[in-house]
Structure formats: C-alpha cells, structure tokens
C-alpha cells in the first residue's frame, strides 16, 4: 500500500548538480623517507569518475621553527619530497597554493614516529587466514595506530603457454622473458585499519586484525606476501579516521543512519568557509613483510577465476563438416594472430590440420592480472 500511495521520482536538486569541487589533501609527512602528498578534487556525486587530480599547485612543508621544504609535482596529483630529516620537537604543516591562486594550510601537526612493528603473523582459522599485527611502544606514547598494507602473491594461469603470436602473422616458441604462466599480483588496502591502546595501562597492540583472507582465495594458493605499514596517530587523527571509516561506506536512504560532515585539519586561507577534505599527519612509518607458503596451510581448495576456460584446438584451415560447398575457417589466422586467443601447445598434424591448442587470454596470460617480473623484495 505504501507503493499505492507513495511515489518515488528522480530529482536533481541544486545540491547534487552544483559543481562541487572541493580540494582533497591526504598524506603523511615522513621524516627520513619520501613524503608523498596527494591533491585531488571531489567530483559531482552523480558523476562517473571518482576523482580528479589537482595539478600545478605549489606544495611545501613548513616547520614551526621556520624550516621550509618544497615538494615536487608529479603527473597524477602527487607531490613528492625526497627524504629530509625532520625534528621530533618541531610541529610541521603543509602549505598549498593552487594554480588558481588559492591558499591552503594544514594545522601544525606534531611528528609522531611509529614504533617498530614487533611481528606480523597469521592465524589459521576455519574460514581462512587471519593476518595480525603486534606492536608496542616502550615509551608509552603512541596509543593510536593506523595500518595499511600491500599484498603481493603469485598467481598462475590455467594453461602454461609455450608459444606466442609474433607480428600478427606468425608464431614462435615463447622465450623465458615472455613467460606468462606465473605472475605476481598486488593489492593495496581499501579499508582503513585502526587500533588503539588508549585504555590499556601499557602501550601494547596485540593481535590487531589487518585482513582476513578466505580459505578459497587465490592469494594464498601458491605463495603470499604482505607488507604492513604502521602509522602513529594523534588523537585528532585517530578520531578523523574512525569517522572516515564509518562515514563513507553508505548512502543516505529512508531508513539509513544519518552521517555527518567530516572535516580534517586542512583549511582554506583565502576563503575560510570553503570545505577542505583530508588530514595530513607527520611521522615516520615502520613496516614489516612476511611470506606465507601454501605448503604451510591446510589443504584448502582455491576458487580460481577461470570459469569458462577451455583449451580448444585451432587449426590453420578448418572445414565445417558436411558443408557444401565446403566452408573454410582459417582458425589460426582469425583467432591467434588477432590475439583473441593465446596459443598453448603445438598440435602436430599435416597442414592445414596442424595448429595450436589455445585459450582466451584470461585463462593463459597472467600479466592481465599482475606482472611477470619478480618484485625485488620477493624471496
């Protein structure tokens, strides 16, 4: 009956159509390491793109005692500073002047260096693998932590291709450096992981969950590695991240919770009422990497992304059986030379019945999902 007497219609209010173009600033001022600050612009809520980079701004870091460092722009809105030595007794802030001349500055933030990560370990659970981090601050001074991570893991193609197409008119045995059976895929964290020891008498984080990997995940099918980075946060930064995590996961419906605006520590100096999004922190980052071999895990069945894969035999000239006049299909020409399918093995027969077994690229070519160059850290 609600439907009988209710009506839902799409509207476009001035709010959503307004060219909202707020500056988004994120990054960590890292002493003794490369500092990367990203500048982007929000996009319209109904737009297809999810952000656009802010180019040609001048970005600098200013110390409370007058130090000054200028960041170099990158092509994608990132602004980079080579490692400098920052003083733990000073506070630092970010200053930005955009290409249109507007000035922005962050609050002064203290340098909060992260204590070392004690261990990153994993726990085998019924549903899969739980990666945890353990850390502590002997100085009892950190209390609030954030982690992000990069996962790298070996993936295999379904079929191991020994041949390759060359110049769209011939094939050749696949050389070792064009190997596409084994690759290293990589993911970065898409959720914000936070921890606090504020209620504890000692600054210890024990078995903080970082990510849970389902037992059927391809990530742990062969060999898996995760590098966890640990950031120390101020109370303000911690609260900001808690809110950001909660606030940005759902849209406002009739029966949904009401979110609220999230303001970080960046302000527009030219127009103080202009919202600026983002939070700049300062402090050294600690990290740790672990490797997990499938051999050390239970015999879990991986759920591999090869649905619909089959290795078909493609010959140079195929005659459709029973067709009069005979209809011919130049299968190698049509499918392999055009890269529609990738050859796997040679099928030995008399021309034109010889050819290759072949499959669609996603079944054969792991570089679609990763790189076949072994990362330098891999061992």
């Amino acid at each position: 009956m609600t439907t009988a007497f209710a009506c839902k219609k799409q509207i476009s209010s001035s709010v959503t159509n307004a060219p909202n173009n707020y500056l988004v600033v994120n990054g960590n001022i890292a002493p003794d390491d490369t500092t990367t600050i990203t500048l982007t612009r929000t996009v319209n809520i109904s737009g297809k793109a999810n952000s656009k980079p802010e180019l040609n701004a001048s970005v600098s870091i200013e110390g409370s005692q007058g130090d000054h460092y200028t960041l170099a722009p990158n092509s994608n809105g990132a602004y980079v500073l080579a490692p400098v030595s920052l003083s733990a007794t000073q506070n630092y802030r970010l200053k930005i002047t955009t290409s249109e001349g507007k000035q922005y500055a962050s609050d002064f933030v203290p340098v909060k260096n992260s204590p070392p990560i004690d261990t990153v370990n994993y726990v085998i659970q019924a549903k899969g693998l739980q990666i945890n981090v353990n850390t502590h601050d002997p100085a009892n001074n950190t209390h609030y932590y954030r982690w992000d991570y990069t996962e790298t893991y070996i993936i295999h193609s379904l079929y191991n291709s020994h041949y390759m197409e060359v110049n769209h008119d011939t094939t050749a045995p696949r050389p070792a450096d064009k190997e596409i059976y084994q690759c290293w895929a990589s993911d970065t964290s898409s959720t914000i992981v936070l921890g606090s020891s504020a209620k504890l008498s000692q600054d210890i984080i024990s078995a903080q969950p970082i990510i849970a990997i389902p037992s059927s995940s391809e990530k742990i099918h062969i060999r898996y590695s995760i590098r966890v980075k640990q950031y120390a946060l101020t109370t303000d930064a911690y609260n900001y991240f808690v809110l950001l995590k909660k606030n940005t996961e759902q849209l406002g419906g009739i029966f949904d919770a009401q979110p609220s605006e999230l303001t970080g520590n960046i302000h527009c100096l030219t127009n103080p009422s202009e919202p600026v999004i983002g939070f700049v922190t300062a402090g050294s980052v600690t990290q740790q990497r672990i490797f997990i071999d499938n051999a050390n895990l239970p015999a879990w069945q991986a759920d591999l992304p090869f649905n619909g894969c089959s290795a078909d035999t493609l010959v140079y000239i195929y005659t459709i059986p029973g067709s009069r006049p005979p209809q011919l299909i130049y299968q190698v020409n049509e499918f392999i030379y055009t890269d529609v399918m990738i050859p796997i093995d040679y099928v030995d027969a008399f021309y034109p019945n010889n050819g290759y077994t072949a499959a669609f690229p996603y079944c054969v070519d792991c570089t679609i999902r990763g790189t076949n160059k072994q990362p330098s850290f891999w061992k």
């Binding site: 909202n20 996009v43 898409s190």
Partner: protein, 923 residues
C-alpha cells in the same frame, strides 16, 4: 401546562402560610445548635402541643435561635426559615406536624418537575425545595436550572464563611461522566474544572448561590443552591440537541483566560471528528498535529514532536496506560478508536506533578464510560477500515461497559495492484473493553483494556508484526467530599517481531518487547477554598527484551543472537498545591521526586574514563546478579505555573517545569517505525533531563467565543541521544558505543486564534520555533558539525495550520484543513572523492539542507441523516478529498547508486488527491 401547575403551587403555598396562624400564648426559647428532639421537647413542654414528625427526615436539623415572647408560629417560622421544613399546626387537637417538603398537603411532588431527557425545562420560580443532603444520604442529582437545591445540614440561619460542595458532572442520557466541565460561581471569579472522573470540588460562600456550568458539547446551564454546610451535588447536563449545531473547541470557554494551566490543549472527540480525515478515518493524532507547537517529521508517521522534543519524549496515555506505539500501519492511522475516545488532552508546559518520565509532553487520551442507562452503539464503514462499538449498562446506573473494535480489510486494495505487489499484505485491528462500576457513592472501580495488532508485508518477503497490550484497574475512593484518592494498577506491553523466510538458509525472526507493570496512588485534597493539594506515589517496573534473533523456518542456519533482557524500577513521589491567592492570581506549584534503579541481571562494560565509548576502550565488565541494583539516578522535578487576570477576559500566565526521562527510544531514522528499539538508562547511558520556561497572554472576545493566545517558550534538553555516524541499533549488545549524548535547546512563539461558536468555527495558528542539538564533548570521539549547534531532524521553523468548519444547516457542513510547514532538515552527500583505497562520499554538515516545504489542504463535506433526537438510528456521511491540490510533498530525499552513478530521489507519500467516503451509523 407546566406553568399552570406552577401557579397552583404558588397559590397553595401562599394560602398555607395564612392557615397556620394559631392562638398560642407567647413563649421564650434559646437553642444553640439544638437537634430536633431537643427542640421539639422544649416546645412541647412550653406549649402543651404534641409534635409529630419523621425523625429520620429531621436528623439533620440544627436550630440556633434565641427569641422572647413569640408565638409558636413565629418561633417555627424563624426556626424553619431557609430550610425545606414545614409545619402545620392543628390547634383543635394541639398537634403540630413537622414535614419535610409538603407531603402533608395535597400538592404535586417536587420530583414531578424533573424533565424527561430532551424536554425543555420550565422557569419555575417557586421555592420548590428538595431533600436535604447529609452524610450517608445519596448525593443530590441536580438536573433543573431554576430549582433551588439545598445542600448541607439545614440551619435556620446561614453561618458566614465558606462551605465545600463536590460531586460528579454527568451526561443526563448515558450517565457518562464529563471531564473538563467548568463550574463557576456566578459573579465571581471562583471556579473549577471537573477532573477526568467528572469529579469536582468547589469551595464557595454559604448561602444562596448560582453556579454556571459549561462543558464541551453540552448545553450551558445554571444551578441554584442554598448552601448550608459541606455537601454533595451531582450535576447532570444535557447534550447539544444536534451534533453539529455548535462545536466548541475548548472544553471550557473561559479556561483559556481563567485556568492556571499553560500550554494545555484539550480536544473533544467532536472537534476531532470535524477535521477532514484521510480515508474518512477520524484520526486523533492527526488532529493533535494541527495544534500549535506540534510537528511531525513526515507524512506517514504519527510520531510527533512537541515544542522541539523528540518523538519518544511524549508520554502517550490511553486511560492511564502507556501506549508505546500509537500508530497503525507505519503511522498511516493512529491507534485510537475514535468511537470510544471521549477527549484528548495535550500538556505542553504545565505538566501536572502526577505525570513524569517523559520530557516533552503528556498526551492523555480518555475513553468514554459506557452508557449506564441504556444500550447504544455505532458502526462505521470506510474504504479501508470498519468500526463497531457497543456500550450499555450491566447493572443499570451502577455498572456499564463499552466495547470498541476496528479492523482493516485493505488486502482487497493490495490485490488490485500489479502482480509484483500481489504478495503484499496489510492488516490491523484494535480492541477496547472498558468497564466502570460504582460500588457506592464513595467507591468506583474502572477497568480498561486495550489490544492492538498490526501485521504487514510490503512487496517483500519480510513480515512485520507489532502489538500493544494494556490493561489496568483503578479504584477511586472518596474519603470525604474534600479528599479522594485513586489507586491504579496496570500492565502495559509493546512487542514486535520481524520475520523473513525468503532465503530458507537465512530465515530469521527478530523479536523485541517491553513490558511495564505500574502501580500508583494519586490523592487530591481540597484543603480549603483556596488550596487544592495533589499528592501521590507511583512506581513502574520495566522488563525489556532489546532483541532476540532466532532461526525461522526449516533449514535456517541463523545462529540465535539474544541481547540480554534489561530491568529497571522507576518510582516517584509528588506533592502539588494549586493556590488561589486572590481572585486574580492563582499559583500552582509542585515537586516531583523521581528515582530510577537499573536492576540486574546484567553485565555492564566499564569504559576507560575520558575516552570515547568504543570497543577499544572497554577496560573490563561487571556482572550483577538478578534483582541487584546496578545504579540509581534521581531527580527533583519542579512544576510551577501562575496566572494573573489583567481583566475579565485578559490574563497572563507563566510556567516553569523540569522533567527527567529514563527510557530512550533508539531510532536512527527520522520517523518512528516499529523496528525501533527502546533502551533503559544504565551506567553508560544517562537519563535525559530537560526544563522549560513558558509565558503566555490570553484574551477572549465576543462573549468568550473567540479565544486568542500568544505563548513563548524556551527549553533545554540534556543527554538526548543522537547517533554516531553509521550507528547500528538492532541487536547491538553495546548500544552505548553507537550513541552520543547531545544537548538541546528549543525556543518558539505560538500564535493561536480560535472561534468556538457560530456557523464558522475552527482554529488557526502559526508557530515559529527552532530546535537545535549540540555534541561538543571532545571525549565522545565524534564532534557533530564541529561541536556547533545543528538543527534537529524535526526543526521546522515556520508552521501554519488552519482547521475550519462551516455549517450551512444542521445537516450540512464543510470542513477545510490547511497545513504549511518548512521542510525538515536533511544531511546530503554533496561530493565524492577517492582516498585510502576506495571511493568515499563527502556529506554536508549534519542537517545542513532541507527537503522542500510542506503544503497540504483537505476538504470534506459532512451530511447528517437528520437531526431528530428521538429516532432509532442516526446516520451520517462524510465525503472528501485529502491533499486537494495533489502537491507532491517530499517525505524524504535519498540517494541510490544505479549503473555506477549516484542519483537523487524524492519519496512522496499521498502525492495526489485522495478522495474518500465514510458512512457512520449510531444506534
């Protein structure tokens, strides 16, 4: 004919006096409060006459007399002056007959002149007298305007000073008591209003007095009194002859100016019925929404906001039973059966001391008492619901019942919808059964019960079911005519469940219930003419099951999840005095002290001090045993109001009150939906406290037919719960982690104008009000809008209401209802960006935007079958259109992702003109 009889009586009475002259030698007497026996013995001794009289009729006579050298005639004349007693001297036999009334004479009995219902009373100006009321005698039933009713122990001379009368105001036909009737002493400013039992107590000077009695829907009337001492007088009033003849908005025409209460609105069911209603269904709460200072967040909700309070800050009472969900079908209909309801009273500022436990208002809905004299009933047929009510005496004039039932049959409507909705289902019913019994004139028993049930499934697999259950028993005892008490014991329950079996593996049933057992004792003592004292105690024991999810259906793999039950005891004592300092100044002052105990069995998480209540900050937890007091809150509550009459029709009133609320409604939506969760205060969730100051100016004009008022208020609220972003409330074992304490402030000005009589009557009001909340505790972990004040969800600054009725003839009238208000605030996502590995949405400040303004007009034509009083059936029709202009008022705007883009949608309810027709029959 009547006038003829009256003349005969007058002539006979006159001749009687002359006939009583008799030659007896003069004697001297000296009586001080002499009883009849002493009086008669003395006279028999001195005169030699023998006196004959009925001692029971004369046991209340007290004679104070000092005379010398007077005849027996003169002495008896003096002794019986101003009394109903008469004497007849038979000198031949030396007999004296003393009589009460005139039974010794060949005259018609006085009671003959009591008119039958509906008849016109005559102006009999003769000093017809009645039985004297004394202790252990039945109260005088007064029905005639010009008859002189004698009250108290008759004395030949009336002592100066005040006496107290008390009694019930009743409807003459049904015997139903009339609450809110005003009883005023003519030519003074002394007056009272009958309470909800129809009971009144009035202190006034002894001697000859005239009372003016007015009640809503009743003919104005007068009573002539001869007041000797304290006594009882029941006043029976006659109904307006036709229902629509004259509609009075206020119970009491002068209460607007003269009552001490501030910001109290009383609506009689007749006012409510003339407002055009959706689907022709009279809806008590929708009419409440037209009162100044009352707002709602949206169309399909009967949760309402009074003066910037939240929806859960209203105490909704049906015959003293707490109704937790006053709505049927997600708020499309209110849960009160209009055929049973007698009146509705909304207290916005002057909340009497006896009420407590909610911050904003008390909405008191009172059912009629069943007809004590004859069987009656009514039935109504509408598009979506049908109603039936039956009432009548069980023991005539002593015990009566009233039964009301409503049920919906809206499934047929759903079946007309396209196939995709054919699995929808919606039904509800409610039942009322009330019994009242008069044990004797000092003891009454009232039993009331209520049951409502809703069941619906909307185009989905999820079934909602909810129910209110209430029962209570009241015993009213009059200790004497200055002191009475009411003992109430009752049970109130509310429960709902949500179940789904769409996916057998996920089949679940989620259950919630809250039960309260109440006991209270309320006493009223009329200390003297200037002071009315109320005092009492009350206690509520809560049992609350916050959530219980269980597997539902075969093959469900849902793991049962039970949030532990909560228990608490809320008790209060109160004392209040209404003090008439002068004719023009009345002060009502009281104190309520409430105590709240949160009880085991329960496990309480202890959080580290000065840190947000988050899972990370739980230090440890403490488990308390069953019935153990976990913690106690208490709060003294002040209730003060005063009225000063600037002139006869102009007064100024002021009020201040403080309140405490120990139960919270957790709802992170903007409307009350049946899936909200109640939460009792506990060590981590503090009670809500609030106070309000209010000032008003009241003016009546044109013989009290136009009432105007302006009221301003300022209100503070502490510890109102707002929600952290993305709070999760259902099945939450640690609700304190998802809520924030906020401070609120609300202020406003309300203009109201009412016309209570004439062909055109109705009310119009305009309110400007603001309501803000603030969360500025940095330790809470989340500052809303940077700790600044933000508008509450129901902050609607401008509100205008017009409700009018124009009567062409006694049979035809039209009603128009116009509502305008500012759109309510809303938080909108205004931009998106990419950060920390995913797309994120940027929201505006909380409640920084508003949905479009609300405007609606409704129209109805009411046709009464005919206006004859004495016929078997009365029928009436009502046809009309809801939302005449078809404006698509936004209920909500929201955002949905579709094909990778986020689009904005507006949801409107009743977005086109909806015609309705309704047929009612009374028998």
């Amino acid at each position: 004919m009547k006038i003829f009889y009256t003349l005969i009586i007058m002539l006979l009475s006159a001749s009687l006096v002359t006939a009583q002259n008799s030659p007896v030698k003069p004697i001297s007497v000296n009586f001080q409060q002499a009883g009849t026996e002493q009086f008669v013995k003395d006279l028999e001794l001195k005169t030699g006459y023998h006196f004959y009289y009925n001692s029971t009729q004369f046991d209340s006579l007290k004679v104070t007399l000092q005379l010398s050298d007077k005849t027996l005639n003169e002495i008896l004349n003096a002794a019986f002056r101003n009394t109903g007693y008469h004497y007849t001297i038979v000198p031949a036999k030396l007999w004296v007959f003393l009589t009460s009334d005139k039974e010794i004479h060949p005259l018609v009995a006085a009671g003959y002149f009591t008119p039958k219902p509906g008849q016109v009373t005559i102006n009999n100006t003769a000093p017809v007298t009645d039985l004297t009321a004394t202790v252990n005698k039945p109260a005088i039933e007064s029905t005639i305007e010009n008859k002189l009713y004698e009250i108290g122990i008759k004395t030949n001379e009336v002592k100066p000073g005040n006496a107290t009368i008390s009694g019930y105001v009743k409807e003459i036909k049904s015997g139903d008591v009339i609450a809110g009737a005003s009883i005023f002493v003519a030519n003074t400013k002394t007056g009272v209003v009958s309470d909800k039992f129809g009971y009144y107590t009035l202190s006034l000077p002894r001697g000859r007095q005239q009372l003016i009695v007015r009640a809503i829907g009743m003919k104005d009337t007068r009573r002539q009194l001869m007041l000797y001492t304290d006594g009882e007088l029941n006043i029976e009033l006659q109904d307006q002859v036709t229902r629509l003849k004259e509609v009075k908005i206020s119970a009491d025409k002068v209460a607007n100016v003269r009552g001490v209460e501030l910001s109290v609105n009383r609506l009689d069911i007749k006012n409510i019925k003339q407002v055009p209603q959706i689907f022709g269904e009279t809806d008590v709460l929708r009419v409440v929404l037209t009162l100044p200072g009352v707002q709602s967040v949206g169309e399909a909700t009967t949760g309402f906001n009074v003066r910037g309070g939240a929806a859960d800050q209203n105490l909704i009472l049906l015959n003293d039973a707490t109704i937790y969900n006053p709505a049927h079908f997600f708020g499309f209909f209110s849960a009160f059966n209009p055929d049973i309801v007698k009146d509705v009273e909304l207290y916005k500022n002057s909340i009497p001391e006896k009420f407590g436990g909610r911050l904003s208002s008390v909405l008191e809905v009172t059912d009629r008492e069943g007809n004590k004299k004859s069987f009656a009933g009514s039935a109504g047929i509408g598009l979506l619901t049908s109603r039936l009510n039956v009432e009548g005496p069980i023991i005539k004039d002593k015990t009566s019942f009233i039964f009301g039932a409503r049920t919906s049959y809206s499934d047929w409507l759903l079946s007309l919808l396209p196939a995709e909705y054919k699995h929808s289902h919606a039904s509800f019913y409610d039942l009322n059964l009330d019994i009242s019994h008069q044990i004797n004139k000092n003891n009454n028993i009232y039993i009331t019960s209520y049951l409502s049930n809703d069941n619906f499934r909307l185009n989905s697999d999820t079934t909602y079911n909810y129910s209110n259950q209430n029962a209570n028993i009241k015993w009213k005892h009059n200790f004497n005519n200055k002191f009475f008490g009411v003992l109430t014991a009752g049970y109130d329950g509310y429960k709902y469940d949500i179940s789904s079996i769409q996916n057998p593996v996920d089949g679940y049933k989620l259950k919630f219930n809250i039960n309260q057992t109440n006991f209270k004792a309320d006493f009223t003592y009329y200390l003297n003419g200037n002071n009315t004292i109320d005092f009492g105690i009350s206690s509520i024991f809560y049992q609350l099951n916050p959530g219980d999810e269980e597997p539902y259906g075969n093959g469900s793999l849902v793991v049962p999840d039970v949030v532990p039950a909560e228990h608490a005891l809320e008790s209060a004592v109160y004392l209040g005095d209404k003090y008439d300092m002068t004719d023009d100044l009345t002060i009502s002052a009281g104190m309520r002290f409430s105590v709240y105990n949160y009880l085991g069995q329960q496990t309480i998480d202890n959080y580290a001090p000065n840190l947000p209540r988050s899972p990370n900050n739980v230090v440890d937890s403490t488990t308390y045993g069953k019935g153990k007091i976990i913690n106690t809150y208490s709060h003294p509550e002040i209730r003060i109001s005063a009225r000063y009459n600037l002139s006869d029709d102009l007064s100024i009133k002021a009020g201040y009150n403080t309140l405490a609320q120990y139960i919270h409604l957790l709802s992170n939506t903007t409307a009350i939906s049946p899936i909200d969760v109640y939460k009792l205060s506990d060590p981590n969730i503090k009670p809500q406290y609030g106070d309000q100051i209010s000032l008003g100016l009241y003016k009546n004009a044109k013989a009290n037919t136009i009432e105007a008022s302006v009221e301003v208020y300022y209100k503070r609220i502490n510890n109102y719960l707002d929600y952290k972003s993305s709070a999760s409330l259902l099945l939450n074992q640690h609700i304190e982690q998802d809520v924030l304490n906020t401070q609120g402030k609300a202020y406003g000005i309300e203009f109201s104008l009412r016309k209570t009589a004439g062909k055109l009557n109705g009310w119009v009001n305009y309110t400007y009000s603001r309501t803000f909340l603030r969360q500025n505790d940095p330790n809470a972990g989340e500052l809303i809008n940077g700790g600044a004040y933000y508008p509450a969800n129901y902050d609607k600054p401008n509100a205008f209401n017009f409700t009018g009725n124009y009567r062409f003839t006694h049979r035809y009238s039209v009603s128009l209802d116009v509502t305008y208000s500012t759109g309510r605030p809303i938080t909108l996502p205004i931009a998106k960006y990419y950060a920390y590995g995913s797309e994120r949405v940027f929201y505006s400040d909380r409640n920084a935007y508003r949905i479009p303004d609300y405007f609606r007009s409704d129209f109805s034509l009411n046709i009464d079958g005919n206006a004859k009083v004495n016929q078997r059936f009365h029928n009436s029709w009502s046809v009309g259109v809801y939302n005449l202009t078809g404006r698509q008022n936004a209920y909500s705007t929201f955002f949905q992702e579709q094909g990778g883009a986020i689009n904005e949608y507006q949801l409107s309810i009743f977005a086109r003109p909806i015609p309705f027709i309704n047929y009612n029959i009374r028998f």
